[in-house]
Amino acid sequence: MLNQTPLWKYFAVVIVVGICALYASPNLYGEDHAVQISASSNAVIDGATLDKVSAELKSANIPSKSIVLQNEQILVRVPDSDTQLIARETIEKALGDDYSVAMNLAPDTPKWLESLGGTPMKLGLDLRGGVHFLMEVDMKSALSKSYEDMVGDFKSALREEGIRYRTVKQIDDGVEIYFRDEEKLDKAEFFLKNRNRDFVFSNKSDLVLLVKMSEQKLLETRDYAVKQNITIIRNRVNQLGVAEPTVQKQGPDRIVVQLPGIQDTAKAKEILNATATLEYREVDLEHDVRDAINGRVPAGSELLSYEKGGPQLLKKKVIVKGSSIIDANSGVDQNGMPKVSISLDSKGGAQMLNFTKRAVGKPMAVVFIEYKATDERDENDKLIFEEKRRVISVATINGVFSNKFETTGLDSPREAHDLALLLRAGALIAPIQIIEERTVGPSLGQENINLGMQAIIWGFVAVLVFMLAYYKKFGVVANIALTLNLVMIVGIMSMIPGAALSLPGMAGIVLTVGMAVDANVLIFERIREEIKEGRSPQQAIHHGYDSAFSTILDANITTFLVGLILFAVGTGPIKGFSITLMIGIATSMFTAIVVTRVIVNAWWGGKRLTKLSI
């Protein structure tokens, strides 16, 4: 018998469509205004914090829908946006600087759906409002700094080894060392080669040794400059109180920063551009810390807070500045204890050597200096930044060292990791520059959503009406498929974690709606042809589907290819468009071929027909 569907196929279709519908359903629920609390590195969020937050809100008479602790974050849902603002201020005041309190829109997805991983589609910045920055790390100056370090390093190494040279010069892409005779050059080359495996040596002439970084080292240096900037930007973004910021590397030397929901972009830029630095300082042992705490701070010293060991009295004179730090990495020492390895440039190394020569056995502290934005502005309308100094590490000097040393005695790998991060954050960084910025105000975002939705709805309705009028009962089948297609696109978009819906993405959906019926048009036209040629209705359906299939496949594969190329080459809006286009092609093939066939078979299959409503 023609046109019968095996039972398993019914089930398969129902299951596939059902799963997509299930994951599409979170989009039907709205979003709650919420306040999201997360801890910075020196604080934790636990039950006590939760109690504190709820007590604080209660005493301030702020209504809340729910307060939940999840993934080391507290989410407070409030009824409206006014309450949200007040709640944020109240919580921020109560918890202090160690927590970041951000306003957020939390999806109001029911518990059972959330436990299945159901979340609504993420909205792109053009629909949500927010800022997108593309920043470029100035590699030229990052590399130039490295060459500068090489110059200092080679000079001192050659001097120590007693190899005389005329001069060491920095050039655009390396360092040149000039000698008076060839013998010295050979000796120096042999010595330096053994000492620095990351460099490539070559003879420019008989008396000039040319040193360049190896490809590997060059790559590492670039990578390091970008990563360092990312770390710092992440730190600063936390200050901004943005709920779901994105800070990501793009290409070899770029960083994408996306801050949804931010309205004051000028402020965001100023905060991102603020600098942090650090200083190595000597601990003042000649005076009593307790006296200083009581207000008698000796001249030439100052009292600074230290999270781990209480306030510290430090001499004001700086041993080494953060700008001398080249690298800081956490690891483990030979006893398996956490440590941080630090390298300084030659200038810092000399300063450190000078100091440690006379200070073995004494403690040395690291002071971290940050500039935090206050809400005030000066007469030029620039944000006023408040300098915050704190001690992040105190360690006893165990021996004389210069440009390479280790800090041990840390409590945990986590502490080592955090310290290394802070050290890097305070080091001189390769300058960055904003090369692209896009801001979408919240009102425009909402408008874009409304416009996109309207276009989708009207385009959809127009196609539904047309198909119904043109193909009658088969039009109904095509329309069911088209509706399911839309549901499936939304479901899959919600399932893919990285996919965000943007305005061009919505345009992609609209276009898919228009093109998705193509497969059905092809099939139905075939069926009409077959009937005209005198086949029975059942046979016409069978042949119509069969012969249209390879055409549909070819046509869709090529369009999909175009989508794939768009995705690979394009950025931002083009990517958004290509994702919906590709998903739309895949789902429309399924709904237009498989789903309609199942429905057609169920409706007409196996019956004695003399006419088809097509």
Partner: protein, 313 residues
């Protein structure tokens, strides 16, 4: 209901000379315009700063221009965007102000002049990013065309492959020509639309080619030209209906999608029209001119019709 009920085969190829003339004319016109007027590149490609400002009441463009002029923002281009209360301002670079901060500075000036001015959006693109994008966009188009050439050559026959790529190139150049002649702004979304036109037009072309191949195998008698005419007639209904539904949704986008999506919808609307025409005339005409014949399309091994399609319902 039936749009066209064709009892007779339409002699499409009888019009091959006028069609070829029309295509060549349009192509030359587009290329000349692209060479002379070039494209009105949008901010995405040229780089620069642009802000979108919303007012409570109808925005007075003259007034805004004057205010900006007085505050040293020379050569600012001020125009309405989407509605009479929204204004799009393109700013030229200015000494002493970082390009990334230009927008904020201009907005401040406008706010002082009229406090209902509200920042709705702003963009800054450095010229290096713009240049890269232009390169990437051109590359994307070339890669797309080459991939299609390869796929169609593999799936069909090289004459069809050349025919479809000729049709696609034809569509892309003429769509670009339209943007050049009317100096419509060519931004990133328009580029996406042009690439989507490639996808759409190809879809159309493949359907036609597929039918031509099928008929070459099925109809044992007749000239190549007749077979192509038969195939085009058979697929004409489908071509028109699909174009119609696509145009319906594009009209919805064009009228309801807002100013941001306007260029996108324009490019696609025009592209779909030209793509429909090219799939009838350009692709098959090129294949015919290259001498496509029955022998080229005979399957290498005899396969039963639909034998490879058991997997599908």
């Amino acid at each position: 209901m039936q749009l066209l009920n064709m009892k007779e085969t339409v002699a499409f190829m009888a019009l091959k000379k006028p069609a070829a003339a029309l295509s060549i004319l349009l192509l030359i016109g587009s290329l000349v315009s692209l060479a002379v007027n070039q494209l009105n590149w949008g901010l995405d490609f040229t780089g620069g700063t642009q802000i979108e400002v919303g007012y409570e009441n109808t925005a007075n463009l003259e007034e805004i221009r004057k205010v900006l002029e007085q505050s040293d923002f020379k050569d600012a281009v001020v125009q309405n965007f989407g509605s009479s209360t929204d204004v799009l301002i393109r700013l030229a670079s200015r000494d002493g102000v970082k390009p990334a901060e230009l927008g904020d500075a201009a907005l401040k000036v406008l706010k002082e002049a009229d406090d209902t001015a509200e920042m709705r959006g702003s963009s800054y693109v450095s010229s290096s990013v713009g240049e890269e994008l232009t390169e990437q966009g051109g590359l994307a188009m070339l890669v797309a065309l080459v991939c299609i050439l390869i796929y169609v050559a593999m799936r069909f026959e090289w004459r069809f492959a050349l025919g479809s790529v000729a049709a696609l190139t034809h569509d892309v150049i003429i769509t670009l020509g339209l943007f050049s002649v009317f100096q419509l702004e060519f931004d990133l979304t328009v580029l996406a639309a042009v690439l989507a036109v490639i996808g759409y037009s190809l879809n159309d072309t493949i359907v036609v080619c597929d039918r031509i191949r099928e008929n070459f195998r099925k109809i044992r008698k007749g000239e190549s030209e007749d077979i192509i005419n038969t195939s085009l007639t058979q697929t004409l209904n489908r071509t028109i209906i699909t174009s119609l539904t696509t145009i319906l949704v594009l009209l919805a986008l064009f009228f309801l999608g807002g100013a941001t999506i306007h260029g996108f919808a324009t490019a696609l609307l025009f592209g779909v029209l030209i793509g429909t025409y090219s799939s009838i005339y350009v692709a098959s005409l090129v294949a015919l001119t290259l001498g496509i014949s029955k022998e080229d399309l005979m399957p290498t091994e005899v396969e039963k019709e639909g034998a490879d399609q058991d997997a599908v319902v």
